[in-house]
């Protein structure tokens, strides 16, 4: 923790806006080029395959000797039914078996430096059945600051889209497709088998990629298009350059229609299938809003281009450096804003993933949690509260969506733990996305919006183009708030305790003292969950007076005794709703008088619904 603790500048405690201006200094040139890739790839649409040559220039920026190289070969996650990925997903495994739909990445030749000796036979898979990680022992250790050139020839068999790779008809999405080095950090390689809940983790570098494919294809890719040449044989070659990034992906489809827009001198290119062009305006608008918001709060977007691609991948969207993919649907009515929300989410990932390349396999909450938190803020700012679904008076907001998922799996797993240790995919999602987002909103409640904006701005500025950890984030939060926040982060990030505070009872006794009416009140509060967080209590009296009390929340129950000249109207714990981790808001308040009208309204609504249901059922 102390090793990576940033040296904060005097501007630290200035308002968030000024800090975000300072944060704007991050540029892609700042990225430490550890692993740079030159790749020539040819797409063979008929065979659904790729053949490629790759040159990696790897520099040992650590203080250790490196005697082995670790490569990720993600397409091998779908090589056969015995891989770690497919063993975790019974349904997908059966689907692949039924449809005989498999993928693979085969290294045909690998040579180091100027040597011509093919070392492909010396590649050792990490496990017998899983070829998603292979290691190559080096004959001669790589010394600190020394560089090594690696030449690889490989072939990829593409599946009909599984997870994030493959084709559907003429639509190709080529992500996680090339042999990629892991991250050497703290004297060991961080290179993980591809599993349901582990996402790629890689070093920054420059990517130069030449894509050759039939000339009728339209290509969307990370980085900048440098040149395009006609090969005269019905194919064309496009050259891309993506500086200071940690991944490269591309998509191709003959029918893509391109829409462009600009915000803050950033060109947004949207590639849509013809069926989905009705959504162009909505998606571009959401992307622009998200870019503007993040640029002003988290630091300037360091690239001059953002590519958005409509693909058929599993899940709704995928983040890649300078490129995002979203699954667009034709549905023409505007009952929900899921596509906008996904667009915003993936754009925010350009910061919390693209620039702040934390270890997604071991600390996924750092990019997914922070992204979900900022996404909800942006969605509510653009469209208003309860705007994710807005249909016939029924409103559902981004935070409510997070809450719904969080409550489903509130105590199964902690937020911060390696991806493979989560109980299920749902628990992974609930913890790293939803619970983390609500935890950050809770932190915002305790520290204030301004402090939270400062934390995010400084965190972005200090750790851009690096691999920040949970402790880096905690140290920034503690520096900004100027307090030890272990009371918050320890249970919230690393525990599975549930938070639930309640007003359990209000008792008042009326007495007369010297011709004055005096009420003796006894208010009982209870902690129903194991998580301990400080609680604010608001007491409202019938004459309009308000009284605030603090409770450290540590005891199982707490009693407040007080006297007043007026009866109590209502007692509320957490009146400003700072604590979004509380699993039951319904017991957070107690009124002296029953909420008869509201309950009557709710009950009669339900009664009428049941009556209507009976009317319908008995009609047949």
């Amino acid at each position: 923790m102390s090793k990576l603790k940033p040296q904060l500048r005097p501007g630290l405690f200035l308002p968030g806006i000024i800090l975000s201006f300072l944060a704007g200094s991050a540029l892609s040139e700042e990225a430490l080029r550890v692993a740079s890739y030159d790749i020539e790839v040819q797409l063979r649409p008929a065979e659904k395959s790729l053949s490629a040559r790759e040159h990696i220039r790897y520099t040992n920026h650590s203080d250790y000797l490196i005697d082995t190289l670790y490569f990720s070969l993600y397409p091998n996650a779908f090589r056969d039914e015995n891989t770690a990925f497919l063993k975790e997903d019974e349904r997908l495994r059966k689907k692949c078996q039924r449809e005989n739909n498999w993928a693979s990445l085969d290294i045909k030749r690998i040579v180091l430096g100027s040597d011509q000796l093919d070392l492909s036979s010396q590649l050792i898979p990490l496990s017998e059945h899983d070829m998603t990680v292979v290691r190559l022992p080096l004959a001669q250790s790589l010394r600190p600051r020394e560089s090594l050139d690696i030449h690889i020839e490989f072939e990829v068999k593409l599946p009909e889209v599984i997870d994030r790779l493959g084709y559907k008809g003429d639509n190709f999405i080529i992500a996680q497709w090339f042999p990629k080095l892991g991250v050497f950090e703290g004297g060991r390689w961080k290179c993980y088998p591809y599993q349901q809940n582990t996402e790629p983790f890689a070093d920054f570098g420059d990517y130069r990629v030449e894509v050759t494919l039939p000339e009728n294809f339209v290509v969307a890719a990370c980085g900048y298009l440098q040149s395009e040449r006609d090969n005269g044989d019905g194919t064309k070659t496009l050259s891309y350059h993506a500086p200071g990034v940690h991944d490269f992906a591309w998509a191709a489809d003959p029918s893509y229609e391109i829409f462009t827009d600009t915000v803050d001198r950033i060109e947004i290119k949207l590639y849509l299938k013809p069926d989905h062009t009705n959504k162009a305006g909505r998606i571009l608008s959401a992307a622009k809003e998200a870019l503007s918001y993040c640029s002003s709060r988290l630091g300037r977007y360091p690239y001059s281009k953002l590519t958005i691609v409509d693909t058929e991948i599993a899940g709704n969207g995928m983040e890649l450096p300078t490129m995002i993919t979203i699954g667009v649907r034709y549905f023409p009515f505007c009952f929900n804003r899921f596509e906008e929300a996904v667009t915003v989410h993936e754009v925010v990932h350009q910061w919390f993933y693209g620039m702040l390349a934390s270890n997604q396999a071991e600390e996924a909450w750092l990019d997914e949690g922070l992204t979900t938190y900022v996404t909800a803020k942006i969605v509510e700012q653009i469209f208003g509260e309860g705007s994710l679904i807005d249909f016939c008076g029924l409103q559902f907001g981004a935070y409510q969506m997070d809450r719904l998922t969080y409550l489903w799996e509130s105590s199964t797993d902690p937020i911060c733990q390696p991806g493979w240790e989560f109980d299920s995919e749902l628990s992974y999602f609930a913890s790293t996305y939803s619970k983390a987002s609500l935890a950050l909103k809770t932190l915002e409640g305790y520290l204030g919006s301004e402090a939270m904006d400062s934390i995010l701005a400084i965190y972005s500025r200090e750790f851009s183009f690096r691999h920040p950890t949970t402790f880096d984030f905690i140290s920034i939060a503690e520096e900004v708030s100027d307090e030890d926040l272990s009371w918050f982060f320890a249970p919230v990030l690393f525990g599975t305790e549930v938070c639930d505070y309640a007003v359990s009872d209000i008792r008042s006794e009326k007495s007369e003292e010297e011709e004055e009416i005096v009420y003796d009140h006894r208010i009982k509060l209870r902690r129903l969950g194991e998580m301990i967080l400080p609680v604010e209590v608001k007491i409202v009296f019938a004459d309009g007076q308000e009284l605030f009390k603090q409770w450290d929340g540590s005891a199982g129950h707490h009693e407040i005794k007080l006297q007043s000249s007026s009866p109590i109207e209502v007692v509320i714990v957490d009146p400003d709703r700072k604590n979004h981790l509380d699993v039951n808001f319904n017991n957070n308040s107690k009124t002296s008088l029953p909420q008869a009208d509201a309950v009557f309204r709710l009950q009669t609504r339900i009664f009428f619904c049941i009556e209507s249901l009976l009317q319908w059922v008995t009609a047949f």
Binding site: F331, L394, Q400, N584, N587, F600, L602, F607, F620
Partner: protein, 310 residues
């Protein structure tokens, strides 16, 4: 014009049979009350002294609902089982009552009067229970066929129109749903005529009744469909009017009196819908009597039928 004539005759008969309408309403009101009481106990516990519950006066606060569901998940699971079982019981009770209701509606329409005593009502209910229950099971079979048809049709559409534009496929989904809806309507309509047949002819097998009803609808397809569409249109108009009134009341605020008025409006709609069910039956009886060709072997049995109290 004839369609409107049947509609008006049905309206007259349903108003004249007001007791039956009240029975239908009270039956559904009582059943709904029975179903809602356990849920109301849970709701009261969560919201009676909950400050945030006041938001229910203006909107449905989903945060509170989500928390309510999560904190009462076990109780709600038990309630759901109770609800489903109770729903089956309500359907069976409805079949029991509908024999008498159909028969008395027929009598009212054909003879201009019907004899109503509690004993006679339950006698008729019991008399047709077995055949109407079997008819209900057959109707379920028909609905399953309609659903299966919809699924097969959806798969076929996917295979045939999969390559077409998204806008075409989107419109086609509505066309497909309309076709399924129309088929479901035909099933409802056919089984309504089958029920009329059951209460009109005493000794007839259920399968024969269904066959008769299918033949009847087939021979009078245009008129039967037109009448049913008119009835559906009338129902849609009625519901729309009440929806408008409900919205109008919502503009008056959330005072106790407005809430009570809203509840009364809802119950008025419930009463109207009960009468509308009678209107649908009565109009169909009118259409049935005008267009049917009675098989000679059933002629005598019908004439022997008595509706007088035993």
């Amino acid at each position: 014009m004839r369609t409107i004539d049947h509609f008006l005759k049905g309206l007259k008969n349903s108003l004249a049979s007001w007791r039956l309408g009240i029975i239908l309403f009270v039956f559904k009101f009582a059943c709904a009350l029975f179903l809602v009481i356990p849920l109301n106990a849970l709701l009261s516990e969560s919201f009676e002294h909950n400050l945030y519950a006041s938001s229910f006066l203006t909107r449905l606060d989903l945060t509170l609902i989500i928390d309510f569901v999560q904190s009462n998940i076990q109780g709600l699971k038990v309630y759901l089982v109770f609800f489903l079982l109770a729903l089956v019981a309500v359907v069976l009770l409805n079949i029991f009552l509908s024999g008498a209701i159909f028969r008395l509606l027929c009598d009212g329409f054909r003879r201009g009067y019907y004899s109503f005593t509690i004993g006679h009502f339950f006698h008729l209910s019991g008399r047709y229970l077995f055949r109407l229950s079997r008819l209900f099971l057959y109707s379920l079979l028909f609905y399953i066929v309609v659903i299966a048809f919809h699924l097969v049709f959806a798969e076929l559409s996917k295979a045939i129109f999969g390559g077409f534009s998204a806008s075409f496929r989107f419109v086609w989904i509505f066309v497909r749903l309309a076709i399924t809806g129309f088929l479901a309507m035909l099933v409802v309509m056919t089984f309504d005529y089958a029920r009329i047949h059951v209460v009109s002819v005493r000794h007839i097998k259920v399968k024969m009744t269904i066959k008769e009803a299918i033949v009847f609808v087939g021979r009078n397809f245009g008129g039967a469909v037109l009448l049913y569409l008119l009835l559906i249109l009338g129902l849609a108009a009625t519901v729309t009017i009440f929806w408008g009134l409900d919205r109008g009341l919502g503009l008056l605020g959330t005072s106790t009196i407005v809430l009570i008025l809203t509840f009364l409006l809802q119950q008025t709609l419930s009463v109207v819908r009960s009468f509308y069910r009678l209107l649908i039956f009565s109009s169909q009886i009118s259409f049935f009597d005008r267009n049917r060709e009675v098989l000679p072997r059933f002629q005598r049995e019908e004439e022997e039928e008595s509706t007088e109290p035993i």
